[in-house]
Symmetry: C2
Subunit: 96 residues, 2 copies
DNA sequence: TAAAGTAGTTTATTTTATAAACCAAATTAA
DNA sequence: TTAATTTGGTTTATAAAATAAACTACTTTA
């Protein structure tokens, strides 16, 4: 019988899931790029990136592009595993 | 390019999603059955069923089984559509 | 040099999810 | 028989999350 396994609450958030999905498909991505692709506000994105970073799901690097600040994000091994695990769990909810 | 469509917030909740998933695969289900299958507490389930009912995603019928109260739930046409739409949107997050 | 834009962060507010407490009736145990 | 426990829930309170609004620091443009 189908079991409703717990869904990683860190990934079960629209914006964080979008960010992780995006980062799954690229080597790394800049703050502004992620913001545009996900359609989020900067404030919300900043908070959610922090959470993903604190959880060790992504690595965030702060540097400069010319004179402007540049925040670059990259999914970690732990993040990839968490994402894949989340997908597997969620599939059981979706397959009816 | 992949678009991160908005996910129906009513369905993007672990318990409500489990309930809807369950109701997608049966004609109807009783409160206690849903509670057991989803592993939720009665209080939480009661609240979430109310929300799904208020949204018109499920129909809730209150009656009696012998002398005990019996709450029966059934997914509605609107609920089926919402679920299918949610699944479609979410697939785009998951396929990386 | 003043206004507007960029790239964010921080803080406050609203919304959610969840847990705890409660209720009414039925059942079981002393 | 009456006191405790269980059943099937609902209501209320609390904790956690998401989001928006306000702010910072610096840069570019008019």
């Amino acid at each position: 019988m189908k079991a409703f396994n717990d869904l990683d609450p860190l990934l079960h958030s629209q914006l964080r899931l979008a960010v992780m999905s995006l980062l799954m498909s690229v080597k790394s991505a800049e703050f502004v790029y992620i913001k545009e692709k996900t359609g989020s506000t900067a404030g919300n994105l900043s908070v959610q990136l922090d959470k993903l970073s604190t959880a060790g799901y992504i690595e965030v690097t702060k540097s400069f592009k010319g004179k402007k600040p540049l925040t670059t994000c990259k999914i970690s091994k732990k993040g990839i595993e968490a994402f894949e695990n989340y997908v597997t769990s969620l599939q059981k909810y979706l397959d009816t």
